[in-house]
Amino acid sequence: MPRLALRPVPAFQALPMLGLATSCGEPDLEADRYLAFQREPDGYEVAPRLVGTLEDLATITGRLGEVRTGGILLYENDGSMTLDGDRALDVGYDVQDGVAVPLDEDGLILWSFYGHLEDIADQLPALGLDGDVFFPLNSAWTPVLPDLLLELLPKENAAYATGGHFFVLLDDLFAKDVPLVANAGVIRHEFGHAVFHVLTSGGVHRRPPFAAADTSVPSLYYSSLHEAFADTFATLSLDAPDYFEDSLPMTSRDVRGDWTIDQVETPEQFHRTAGDDPLALYDPYPLGTVFASTAWDLREALGDPLEAWAILLEGTRIWVDLSTPDNAWALLDAWVAAAGQGVAAEALCASIETRFGDAVLVETCP
């Protein structure tokens, strides 16, 4: 998932609503659970979950943030993004035996999203992260996107707006067993972007090191590392190397794959081949997946995703202190440094040698 993506003006919204509507059958708001997609060890299920921090089921507002709909996403001069003209959701639902049941599928999907956000918030302390830094985190469901290329297909995506500190959530073009926004791994991937942004920028509302439109080599490396870190967060926090598969067949993002640096285009190679073509777009995911696969190798060696995450997070913090946010190879050095001695360092060095070969010299490896 990119750091930013987009969506069109909803059709058939030209007519203003008539103001005389009244409502019968208002839902009983005393629901203690709501239906949501939930990820279990053997796959997803739709089942009731406790309301928890979700204070208003109709507007999807809670202590973790609010989901808004519509509006237009704006690029600010400082490279951050803001949302303008958005409005509150109005999720219709009924209550059956204390369980809030949505009146349409969109309600089910958006409740599921909030549930995933709550699972992340619950896990943050175990991941060595402070929830107060990240929450509240609002979300924009299907806003108008300012980028023409993305606006042409504003579907099948989610994004984290760096600097603006909100999620952009788009609906699916094709039906899926697990809609993208209801996929816990996809939401964790986007949250991973928030974590990486905070690490490299100093705060959720701080300006990112590179603007979204910056296509320089350093900016493209930074984009690849963003994707790498986001996938590392998603796969390790969920302990799911192929979280995408529940929604889309995407083996290219399975971090158990034999991905190596030789198989991907580096930003330097992209600039050589693309030349001055203004329409050429760099794909940051393949390079990011090589890094995320290295992280997964560490998890395999240790047999513990959270232990692997702790090393990689510490390494990333070391890297931020000692390097620049585009120095991809220095990140590998820092990861090894954080691993210290023993199994973790050996596993990381072996993985780096396999996946990066001669392209990278990691000084901390023997």
């Binding site: 909803p10 007519l15 609503m17 008539l18 509507a21 709909t69 009924d94 049941v101 349409d104 299907t142």
Partner: protein, 172 residues
Amino acid sequence: MTRTLACAALLLMSIPGPARAEGAAGLAFGAAAVHVASAEHELRPLVGLWGRLGFGRGGFAEVEASGTRRIEDGGVVQVDERWARGALTVGCRTGPRALEVAVAVGPALTYRDTVVVGEDRWRATALQAGVRYRAGLLLPLGRRWEVDLLFGGASRRRNHDQELVVQGGGRW
């Protein structure tokens, strides 16, 4: 919007036309743009029944019953959304007998019935009142039949649905 429709209806009713007190009834088929939780409008097929009774100079009252259904059948969950709407509208029509323009407005009740089948089976229902509005063209086919092309919509709480239908039926 309400004021605009009312003004348009009064304007059309003020245009002299032949006095007639005829009735008509038939079936309607079309596409509904249904307002869902996300504030999107989802396109769905629509079928309905309608009956119209004329009065005065171009005035008429119309009753309708229509419904839509959407089944999202994924591997994890099935969501079966059914909608039924009943409406009573009062309107007017004007223009040459070969092709009339009609507008109508009135109250509507929308019943929503959604079944979610996942680990268990859950059901949600709601009855929502609102304002119904329609406008379009009435095309007689001979003396006994007609086919109409109508755009319409109905509000529900803070939401509104719209549709485009072709309806046909017999006149008497």
